[in-house]
Symmetry: D2
Subunit: 344 residues, 4 copies
Amino acid sequence: MTIDDRKRAEIEAQRAASHETRRATVQALEAILYEHFVVLDHGFVRVIDYMGDDAAIVQAARVSYGAGTRHVREDRALIRYLLRHRHTTPFEMCELKLHIKAPIFVARQWLRHRTASVNEYSARYSKLDREFYVPDAAHLKLILDERRLKERGSMKDLFERMKVLDERSALATQSEFNKQGRDDALSDNEARHALSRFDDTSKRAYAVYKNLLNENTRRTLRNPSYTGLARELARAVLPVNYYTQFYWKIDLHNLLHFLSLRADDHAQYEIRAYAEVILDKIVMRWVPATYEAFRDYGMDAVSLSAGALDVVKRMLAKEDVNEDSSGLSKREWRELMAVLGREP
Amino acid sequence: MTIDDRKRAEIEAQRAASHETRRATVQALEAILYEHFVVLDHGFVRVIDYMGDDAAIVQAARVSYGAGTRHVREDRALIRYLLRHRHTTPFEMCELKLHIKAPIFVARQWLRHRTASVNEYSARYSKLDREFYVPDAAHLKLILDERRLKERGSMKDLFERMKVLDERSALATQSEFNKQGRDDALSDNEARHALSRFDDTSKRAYAVYKNLLNENTRRTLRNPSYTGLARELARAVLPVNYYTQFYWKIDLHNLLHFLSLRADDHAQYEIRAYAEVILDKIVMRWVPATYEAFRDYGMDAVSLSAGALDVVKRMLAKEDVNEDSSGLSKREWRELMAVLGREP
Amino acid sequence: MTIDDRKRAEIEAQRAASHETRRATVQALEAILYEHFVVLDHGFVRVIDYMGDDAAIVQAARVSYGAGTRHVREDRALIRYLLRHRHTTPFEMCELKLHIKAPIFVARQWLRHRTASVNEYSARYSKLDREFYVPDAAHLKLILDERRLKERGSMKDLFERMKVLDERSALATQSEFNKQGRDDALSDNEARHALSRFDDTSKRAYAVYKNLLNENTRRTLRNPSYTGLARELARAVLPVNYYTQFYWKIDLHNLLHFLSLRADDHAQYEIRAYAEVILDKIVMRWVPATYEAFRDYGMDAVSLSAGALDVVKRMLAKEDVNEDSSGLSKREWRELMAVLGREP
Amino acid sequence: MTIDDRKRAEIEAQRAASHETRRATVQALEAILYEHFVVLDHGFVRVIDYMGDDAAIVQAARVSYGAGTRHVREDRALIRYLLRHRHTTPFEMCELKLHIKAPIFVARQWLRHRTASVNEYSARYSKLDREFYVPDAAHLKLILDERRLKERGSMKDLFERMKVLDERSALATQSEFNKQGRDDALSDNEARHALSRFDDTSKRAYAVYKNLLNENTRRTLRNPSYTGLARELARAVLPVNYYTQFYWKIDLHNLLHFLSLRADDHAQYEIRAYAEVILDKIVMRWVPATYEAFRDYGMDAVSLSAGALDVVKRMLAKEDVNEDSSGLSKREWRELMAVLGREP
């Protein structure tokens, strides 16, 4: 269970409070404050606090005495200019504080980003819950398909299929999936196989963890001839698909950098699932002008090397450039053709 | 002039606004939001925004779903514990955004601290105002006294005298000062001498700056046979007592570190003047429990080396320890005696 | 096995090389360059590269044209002064690059330190070896003793016992331990119990990992009806006692900060084992003057709060201070008495 | 004078030393170690120390036991791949330590980069030399031309002209410049005007500084009725064209980021002069494969926004796109045409 009743009540108590403030305030973000967005099977992302808005970026860029410019349109234009020309410091002036629940292996990738503040739930001092990540059956099937089809098909297509799947996951019945024919039947079995291994080994590990702790709240259920191991040591038997939690605070510039790497196709599916929620559900509500500019100049922009730019110029001058005459390596040529949407 | 009328109006407009928020809010800080505290002759510190409060530190330390603990007293105890045992990460969860106006040489010391976000007014693109720092006459006199008395008296006394002076500066008349006798009359003349040099050379530099720019708004007043230098280059003739401005955003942990160095006796008087305002006027209002704990375990605490601790233990065991038998260097012995409030 | 033969050969090849350099060079560190210090059962620490020495700290503090001062004694005095007065920036001028192999749960604590550069072995792309951490039987017994004796004895004593144990671990026979009587016999059984659980669950997890990967190098041994899961996902079933590896580069100032937290009694035993090797085997060889000063003013120094300092002064003035009259909380009083080596 | 005789001797003493090391060593960089590259009129850049080479990047990326790959060609390919795909952490594994002398206004821009270690010469405690920056007459003329021609000509051309000038500056005689006709004669006079103002105001400021200090080494030359101001305060009258010095240590990844901003056309000429020396004289020698890749994928690469990429695709599909039909803003359209080398 992602959030139990007691926690639900604590969250509701915070949501019910209302204060007067002179600070920059974003109503679209206030609306979802403290709420959790479900990610994966037991994970979530919650906005705990924020500082600043689109106008605060403009205000800092101008080192102004009052708020941003008088007009939202001007603010938007300046934000686009700043992002296009890598004037990144004003984006550091906005701050976001999240509460994250994610599998340990996801947290490990996440916390490699050093320009954030973190407080993580401590398995040294506190007992971990029996909550672990098992991939969604349909998702697992797709991954298995992906591996099988790697040579034949495009990864992009698979990823698109996976996203569609995510969106309708509430409705999608397993049976719909099963109708897709023989190949699918095979990966269906495989998914079941992998799934049960995941589930099984995770549960066993937890049983060992509990046994090592020997902390049953009812004394009579404890092993009387065994003192019990410290939590900090017993937790060492738990696999990295167990869930952990952390508070994570980061400024907008560094958040966008994080998202450009983790909401990217090259990121592992599980962390990308979190990054996409942060980008499309949270950043979009919080700083809409920055979101739009970041889509255009960040996420959806491409970088052309000196050599690649030269090829584009030659192609525009109607020269018939091919791999050999391009001066690019095989790999760079293929990457450039993909960017330009052309057959290699 | 620290703040002119147009800026005053912009600030008032921001102060007049009021929004509903679900975020942690500190009324004592809201009361002074956007207002400026005057520092030195033309400088100021203004709070532009903040995130979090004492309870947010507790909330992060516990990675909790709701707010801090139920009781302010418990929060306070936990905060003291965290600060005493160097569990610093929860203090990173609070954030403060300031607008600073300070002489360039102060800004230079300030911006050596790397764990903050900064947007500074750009003298590359914008014209600097004719505002420069000249030490207060009474302050200058004290500095001159300080140098003269260095061998004779204690620096501490002088610093205390300087603080008293600062506090009553609104009331203190120069004449009161002049009554202090012959020595003072001398340093009074000296102060006047130094002061006029400061003032004079600063004004001349600005005249050269304007001449190099040749940007008079009335075309007829410009030198027609001279194109005018770029602002980024012309500003190179202005001395480091000219005022600059910047937005400065920093988390509470790093702010306390900054204050422990810059509100310290060893810091230059001018930056200390800013640090003391931030500590005693702003941090105290914002996070009172943290402020109190930081005073006890940070600013007003002392560190004893392994050797110094050994001396204290021996003294408590009634041993008559002196410099020779202490095992400390001359300097360390003197420092320890000062810490213990004893004659060396 | 900590290091296999192929790796051994690669290390030896690097050790055999010798170059001419004009850079600051430390012969005591060169002697152990690339070598590994064994830590825990399969872990290690290796020095891969370094920059600077004690003299480089002095050189930077003076922004000098040549090397440090002429005399080692002067360098030492300046280094002590810098460390005592928290002039930390010159220590950033030295840099150390290590290769670490440690259990994932240790790496998790380690990589929370953000002021370092890291390249970790990627379990997304590479297969993990079947190497996991199982506590030493004698160590486990001590931990179990520790828990049982918590109320009765002092943690310090136990820690001392543990250290003695570490030092003679090569020689210590299990039988020596078993002679300590009935209580020990009990914890001996318990240790065996915990140990076998550790071992067992770790091996099972690896079997599942291999099964999920289905990557046997001999095609005939693979499951033909199962495609195999991506490495990045299959690794999710491995527990956090599995070993990982990383390159870790950090400057001396931040390294000392890391060590002050991780070579401390409050740190978990496993990471402390690494920190102590780095401190006492590596830093001591590399920058001996800094090592000595860090012992005195860092690791072995104590901090007295404003209130605690007041108590010490009163005690030195022969006042009979007790907990009630001290003005300290129960906990702070106990901590102060421990620092002063007195009965509470 | 950039370097006086005593400093010259200290540098030579360091250059003369030679040590044995097992560390990665770069002979091309050893050849210039400790030497100074002159920048501007009195400034310099000197390499004091370095850690790592191209192979160390590969070694870290692979978390390997030995050195990089066996073949330089493979190392080069991997480095290009890493830089192209923003796998930046391995580049953090190399470190460079420089000694910089630069005008204060340049140092101010420089030290805004926070991911470096710095020790600056302290004007609080040490007396500053009478060394200040005055732009080169020919350079000033170009700047004045630039302003006058802004509407007429291309900035690029001017910049090219400036670079040519820099290169032959040792040879270029002022008279050659004067032959360029009436316009030039005008800016020649103007340059002389600005130059003398620069020089004059800088010298006056120093005279005031000395007077305030009243520190003449011959007691009889001191003003007997004036105690003298502390250095930390007296220096406040010196303009920002005065030279300062600092040790600056940074890793290769952050150095490349610094260079991509400061060796760029948008950077102020004076800091660009330093950045170009670091890039083309130092980085090129130190890590040639990285240098080449950084040129291709960093400095000389361009970023196309989502919208700009769409325009390029349409143009390649032979559509006749113009500003109106492009969907880009006026400014973005102009920037794209410039990137593609086309008339707007």
